[in-house]
Symmetry: C2
Subunit: 563 residues, 2 copies
C-alpha cells in the first residue's frame, strides 16, 4: 500500500506544497501560492530600503490555498487519497521572527496594530537592525566569544536578537503588548498542531542554533545577564518560550482538528519540528557525512554534516555549526556565498541591458562557452554582495581586473561565473583544512538545474565531479522527508533519515566531470584569485601584486596559442 507525505516550503515570496510518495520519493503533486500582502509577498517601506516584512496571515491563507490545490492535483494519482498522508514537514525562511501575544496570536492580528509594519513578521532579509547587530557582535566578542565562534564570528542584522532588540525600540505600545518573539519556523508547526502558546512550542534547533545563539554547551539561549544588557525586557520575553530546541526528527505535534478541516485532511497526522529551507534542501538532496550539498541560486548555500560524536573545532569563516540543525545526531555546518546568480543577473540586467541579442543570459552564455579558461585575461572577486564565507565581511565589494580595450561582455560574464566558483573552492578547502572531508558534491537549485556552463566551470575549478539532485524542489522534498520520519516505520514511514533519504531522494543522470586541461589553467588562476582574496579580504596578508596582471597575460597568451 502506498503512503504519502506533505512538504510545506515557505519561501520569500510564496509557499509551496509538495505531495510525495513515501516508498520512492515520487512527487505526485505540487502547487505554489504567492503571499497576498505587499509586493510579491513583501511589505516594504519607501523610506527605508532595509525594511522587509511579511503579514503572518499570508502564512495561514497560503497554507490553506496551496495544500488544497496540491491535494486536488494528487486526487487523480492512482492509489492516492488524503487519508494516506502520514506526515507533514515544514521549512521556512529565517530568521523571520514575529511578535505574538500570550496565546501565540500575532500582534498584527489586533486591529490597532493591523497597519503597523513593526507588528508584522520580520523577513530574513530585513536589515533595519544593522546597528544592533554590530553592538551584539561587539558585546559578545568581549563577554562571550564562544557565542560568536559557532556563527562565524559576526552576529548578523538578519538574525533573531538583532531584530528583537531593534523591534523593542520602535513602538512602546507594541513592545508592551508583546509576550514572545517567535520564529516563523516554530509558529507554523504551532498553528498546524493547534499548539501556539509560546511556552508549548517545540522550537527548531535549526533556527535557534543558527540565528538565536542557542547551544546546549552553554545551556541553550544566551545568559539572561547578557540579554538584559541589550534590552532589560528581553529576558522576560525569552522566559515565555522553552529553553529547549529540537531536530527535525521530533514531532511538533499532530495536525489539529481546526487545520485538518481547513486543509481537507484527517486530524492527527504528525507534523515535524520546522527547519530552514536550505537545511531541508540539503536533506532533500541526500546529505550525509562526506557529502557537500550546494544550493546554487541567486546566492549559494553549502551544507555539510559531521557526526556530533566527533571533536569538531570551531571553523573560522563558516556561518554556523549547530548540533542537529540538518540531521539529528550530526553537526549541521552551513556556509555559503552572499551572491552567485545575483552577480550574473546584475551584469545582465544592470550593465549590459541590450536586450536578447546583445546582453541576455543566453547570448552571453553562448559567447562564454566559446572561451577557453584563461583566454580572456580577466580575473574577478565575487564580492558584489559582500563575502559570507570565509571572510564573513559584508563590507567588501566586487573587483574585476585584466581589462583591455578589446574586452568583451561575454568575457566578463564568464569571469564572473569563474569568480563565484573560486569563492566556492575557498569554502571547500576551508572545510577540509578543519577535517571535514568532502567526498561527494551534490548540487541543487536554479543554477544547478538550468546552467550546464556554470556547472562545468564549477567542476573544473573545484576539481570535483558535480552531481545534480533529482528533485527540482529539494527544500519541499526535504520537508516531506521529515514528515516520513516523524510518521515512523509503523505508520508507513521511516525510522531514520538515512532510510528515508535512500528511498526518497536521487540524482539526475548527468555528472559534470572536471576536464584536466581546464583544471590546470584554473589552478594557476586560483592562486591569483587567492592573492586578491587575501590582499583585499584579510588584515594579515602582506605582499605584492605586481605579478597578477602579468601572469594573467601570460596565461591568456598561452590559451590563445593552444587555440
Amino acid at each position: 500500500m502506498s503512503h504519502f507525505v506533505l512538504g510545506l516550503d515557505f519561501g520569500t515570496n510564496s509557499v509551496r506544497c509538495l505531495v510525495v510518495r513515501v516508498q520512492d520519493g515520487k512527487e505526485i503533486a505540487t502547487s505554489v501560492s504567492t503571499y497576498k500582502h505587499g509586493e510579491e509577498g513583501i511589505l516594504l517601506d519607501a523610506n527605508d530600503p532595509n525594511l522587509a516584512r511579511q503579514h503572518p496571515k499570508d502564512y495561514e491563507t497560503g497554507t490553506e490555498t496551496t495544500v488544497r490545490e496540491a491535494l486536488a492535483q494528487a486526487a487523480s494519482f492512482e492509489n492516492f487519497s488524503p487519508d494516506k498522508i502520514i506526515g507533514i514537514g515544514v521549512d521556512t525562511t529565517g530568521s523571520t521572527p514575529l511578535p505574538v501575544d500570550r496565546d501565540g496570536i500575532p500582534l498584527a492580528y489586533q486591529e490597532k496594530f493591523a497597519d503597523n509594519l513593526q507588528a508584522m513578521a520580520w523577513l530574513w532579509k530585513d536589515h533595519t537592525s544593522f546597528e544592533e547587530a554590530a553592538a551584539i557582535t561587539e558585546k559578545a566578542s568581549r563577554e562571550h566569544p564562544e557565542y560568536l565562534a559557532k556563527c562565524g564570528g559576526i552576529y548578523s542584522s538578519e538574525w533573531y536578537f538583532s531584530k528583537l532588540w531593534h523591534y523593542l525600540k520602535q513602538d512602546s505600545e507594541l513592545a508592551e503588548a508583546t509576550y514572545a518573539w517567535v520564529e516563523m519556523s516554530d509558529w507554523i508547526p504551532g498553528f498546524l498542531t493547534g499548539s501556539l502558546k509560546p511556552e508549548n512550542l517545540k522550537l527548531s534547533v535549526c533556527a535557534a542554533g543558527h540565528k538565536g545563539l542557542y547551544c546546549e554547551d552553554w545551556g541553550g539561549y544566551p545568559a539572561a545577564e547578557f540579554l538584559s544588557g541589550l534590552d532589560a525586557r528581553i529576558p522576560e520575553l525569552m522566559s515565555h518560550v522553552p529553553n529547549k530546541a529540537y531536530a527535525v526528527d521530533t514531532p511538533a505535534g499532530v495536525l489539529c482538528e481546526e487545520w485538518a478541516g481547513k486543509l481537507g485532511l484527517p486530524a492527527g497526522i504528525p507534523v515535524a519540528v520546522g527547519a530552514f529551507d536550505a537545511h531541508l534542501g540539503a536533506v532533500g538532496s541526500n546529505i550525509q557525512p562526506g557529502t557537500l550539498i550546494k544550493i546554487l541560486g541567486t546566492s549559494s548555500c553549502d551544507m555539510i554534516v559531521a557526526p556530533n560524536s566527533m571533536n569538531l573545532a570551531d571553523i573560522p569563516g563558516i556561518c554556523g555549526i549547530v548540533d542537529g540543525s540538518i540531521l539529528p545526531g550530526y553537526y549541521g555546518l552551513e556556509a555559503g556565498q552572499s551572491a552567485a546568480g545575483d552577480v550574473f543577473n546584475w551584469f545582465v540586467n544592470e550593465i549590459v541591458p541590450g536586450g536578447k541579442d546583445l546582453g541576455s543570459h543566453e547570448s552571453l552564455t553562448s559567447g562564454a562557452e566559446a572561451l577557453k579558461p584563461g583566454e580572456s585575461g580577466l580575473l574577478a572577486l565575487d564580492w558584489n554582495n559582500g563575502n559570507r564565507c570565509v571572510l564573513v565581511d559584508p563590507r567588501v565589494t566586487g573587483l574585476i581586473l585584466g581589462q583591455t580595450l578589446h574586452t568583451q561582455p561575454a568575457e566578463i560574464y564568464r569571469t564572473l561565473i569563474e569568480s563565484t566558483a573560486f569563492g566556492a573552492r575557498v569554502i571547500l578547502e576551508r572545510f577540509e583544512e578543519y577535517d571535514v572531508q568532502v567526498g561527494e558534491i551534490i548540487n541543487c537549485g536554479g543554477i544547478a538545474e538550468k546552467n550546464p556552463l556554470v556547472m562545468q566551470i564549477y567542476a573544473d575549478i573545484t576539481g570535483r565531479p558535480l552531481k545534480i539532485s533529482r528533485s527540482a524542489q529539494t527544500c519541499a522534498l526535504g520537508a516531506a522527508i521529515c514528515g516520513a520520519v516523524v510518521a515512523g516505520k509503523d505508520r508507513g514511514g521511516y525510522n531514520s533519515f538515512a532510510e528515508a533519504q535512500a528511498a526518497m531522494t536521487g540524482l539526475k543522470d548527468v555528472v559534470f566531470t572536471p576536464i584536466l586541461e581546464n583544471q590546470n589553467v584554473y589552478n594557476r588562476l586560483y592562486k591569483l584569485y587567492r592573492d586578491l582574496h587575501d590582499a583585499f579580504g584579510t588584515k594579515s596578508w602582506e605582499g605584492n601584486l605586481h605579478h597578477v596582471m602579468k601572469d594573467l597575460l601570460e596565461i591568456r597568451d598561452g590559451a590563445r596559442v593552444t587555440g
Copy 2:
C-alpha cells in the same frame, strides 16, 4: 600689411592644411584630405593585427589636395593672396619611417615593390617589431643604459630602430635596395624643399631624439658598434643620413619650384624642419616653461619644457626628454597616458552597446554628471591599454573595484573618467618631484574641446585650474607658428617662438576651476588609487589592501549622507 603662414598637419588618417594670419593667429582657412590608400588611409594585413602601413604617395597627393583647397578657401578672405604666405611648418605622426633609395625616393614607388607592404611607410602604431623592441631594450640596458634613461627605460616597438631592424629581416631584395630609413617628418619637408637626398635632409630632433636614441650627449645617434649588434647592415644605412638633427626654428630649406607649381604658391617660401604632431600641438597651445600642455583625445600627451641650461635629472617614467624637441633652447619633456578617451569608448562601444538611450556617451555623461565624487563606491585603474607613464609598462591591464549588485553603467563610466584623471595626476606629481614645476595647465584635443564633465573631474582631481586652448587645431597651428619663426621678423614673421606664440595663440574663455569639496573627496580617493597603482604596478610595493574596499564604502556612505 597682413602676412600668412601654412601649417601642414599629417595625422593618422588625413592631412590638414591651416592658413593662419601671422599678426594674431586668426585661422582663415582649413581643409582636410583623407589618405587614399587602405582603410581610412591605413594599409592593413588581415593576418597580422600588429601591421599598420601607409603609402607615401598619399603624403604627396594629400599635400597637393589640401593646400589647394585651403588656398581656395582663403582667397575670399580680405587682404589674402598666396604671395603673402611667408612660411610653412610641418608636423607628422611618428615614428613613421620609410625606406628610400639614394635619391630619397620611396622604394614603394618602384614597380616591383608597388604592392609590397614592407616597402611602405611604417605607421607609428605598427607593432610588428615588438620582439626587436624587447631585444633593443635588453641590449641597451646592458650596454648603454644612458640610451634608455632619456626615453623612460623601455625602447618601444613603435620606434625607428625596432622597425628598421624588423624591416631588414622581411625581404632581402628590398633590404638590398634600401639606401636609407627616413622618418616621414624629415621626408615631407624634404620633398617640399626639393632636397630629398638622404645626406642632405635636415633631420628633426623631435623625431631623432624621441624615437631614434639621438642625443648630443653621446654624439648623436647610437654608436655603430651598438647598431651593428642589431643588424650588421644598420650602420651603413645610418651613414647615409646626417648625424645632426635640428629644432623647428631651423629652416629645412625653401619651397622648391616643382612643389610651388603643384601647390599654387610662389617658390622660395621657407619651410621649417618637421616635428611630431603632439609637440607642435604644444606649441600651438602656447607651451612655455611652467606650462603643461595636455593633449586629450583617445590617448593623452603631456608636454612640458624646461630650460636646457638647467641641470635636469633623468626623470624615471617620463617617455622622452629631448633638447629642442618642442622649443629651441629647451628640453622637451613628453609624457602621456596610453589610453584616455579610448577607455570611455571601450566601455560605450564594447560593454554597454545598448544604443542611444541606454549606453551612449550622452546618456552616460548625463548619468555621471548627476553623481558626486565618491558616491559610487567605485575605483578603477586606467590601464586598459597598458601604462605609458610613469610605469612604462605595456603588460598591465585595467581594474575596477567596489561593485555591488546595484552598480550602474553611469557609475562605471564616471569611475573610468576619474581613473584617467588620477593617472594624469601621477604624471603631474612626477614632474614636480623632479623639479619641473607646473604652474599652468592648458588643454587641447577632442576631449578638452567637447567634454566639460571630463575637464571638471580633471580639475577636481589634479587640484589645478584647467584652461583650454583657443584653437581646435593646435597641431596645425603649431606648425604654422614654426613657419612664422623660420620666416623671421624681416619677412613679416617672428624672431622667436615666445613672440610668435604670444601673438598667434590664445585661450578660450572657459576655465575649469577645482571645487573644494570635490577635491577633498578626490584626495582621499587618490590615496587609494596610489595604493592600487603601486601594488599592481611596481615590484617594490609591500603592504596590504584590506582598507581599500572599506574606505571606499565609507567615502560612499559619506557622499550619500551629504546628498
